[in-house]
Assembly symmetry: C2
Homo-oligomer: 183 residues x 2
DNA sequence: CTATAATTGTGAGCAGGTAATAATAGCCGG
DNA sequence: CCGGCTATTATTACCTGCTCACAATTATAG
């Protein structure tokens, strides 16, 4: 009997690990045991109830999505002079980190810069066609990245921009972006 | 009276837009009205109850996190010859799109490339120090991006890599990455 | 065969609601 | 100033998916 219990509990654990949206009811049916058994198992495993699980997923998600998700502008716009320059800030979080080195992954720094560049070109429909970038020093969680994009030259079909990112007064990123205007 | 109501409802809307975790109770206190008023407002605005909102966030999140979140390697590794080349694929989704142009935002393409480059350098602790990249054509949702990173030169403290991304047999991205080795 | 472990059942109570119905307050036009 | 309308508040019953406490049953190992 004890073997069955352990078996069920470990299955329960992994089942809920990759699908937190199951009710005790559904779990009870899946394992062909009573709802109370499922509750006892959850207690023993320290697994919270459905609603708490969903809340946790939603919360994580909320943090992570902000870090690099569907936002059009990554970071928060701080200053904006149309056709001249824009400044955005982004707080580096643990979600952005490459574990081995504990440094912020380059794509996040690039994303802040690129999205600001695209935003600056907002007079029309712009897409990034090229960029030459340097990541000048490693960035750690907790740093506040201040990104400045300045329009260098505006041609008929292209915009050239210089984008730099600083943190605690030292340069961490510098890049030249070329955006193409399609309309 | 009508003005007050509209005011409150629009505030309610935007409040819940960027914080779906508020109960009717809390909202009622915030607006100094009864709980029923809040419920009526939600009805009129078609806003579901707290639990449904949280569930929605959790669900989205579940999908979105997969697209571009805390993963170390963005995309799925397809081929890997240590010290030579690696290939990853990434399906472009609606979450990656810049609304105005309906094209995938450059940072996603960059992220796939950069994370693959870092992965390739996995023998040691590598960080991106520079990159020169071209986005050769717009990419739309639904395309499968196949990214190839090849090691060009390995120096004592640096790795040079060529990274290209293709989709439906045409080149969409090409870049040269330089990674620094710290250990 | 019995002591212990595992399972099942029962009832009360809670949070955060829905739904329906009624009563009250505030304002506006005539 | 009063009738009518909208907005607001209150009240009650009910729902889901639990928790908590307690009891009863079943299984099984020693």
């Amino acid at each position: 009997m004890r073997a069955k219990k352990r078996q069920r509990q470990s299955e329960l654990q992994s089942l809920l690990d990759d699908n937190p949206f199951l009710t005790d009811q559904e779990l009870a049916e899946r394992f062909a045991v009573s709802i109370q058994t499922i509750r006892l198992d959850r207690m023993e495993l320290g697994i919270p109830e459905l609603r708490e699980r969903v809340k946790m997923v939603a919360n994580d998600a909320y943090a992570k999505i902000k870090s690099l998700g569907e936002e059009e502008l990554i970071g928060d716009l701080w200053q904006f002079e149309p056709e001249v320059r824009g400044v955005s800030t982004l707080d580096a979080t643990m979600e952005m980190i490459y574990e081995k080195t504990m440094t912020v992954r380059a794509e996040h720094i690039f994303a802040q810069a690129n999205s600001l560049a695209v935003f600056m070109a907002n007079s029309s429909e712009a897409i990034t066609v090229g960029a030459s970038v340097q990541f000048l020093r490693p960035v750690y969680a907790g740093e506040r990245l201040v990104c400045t994009a300045a329009i260098v030259k505006r041609e008929e079909k292209r915009i050239h921009m210089d984008v730099t990112t600083t943190s605690t007064d030292s340069l961490v990123f510098s890049g030249k972006f070329i955006l193409g205007i399609s309309v």
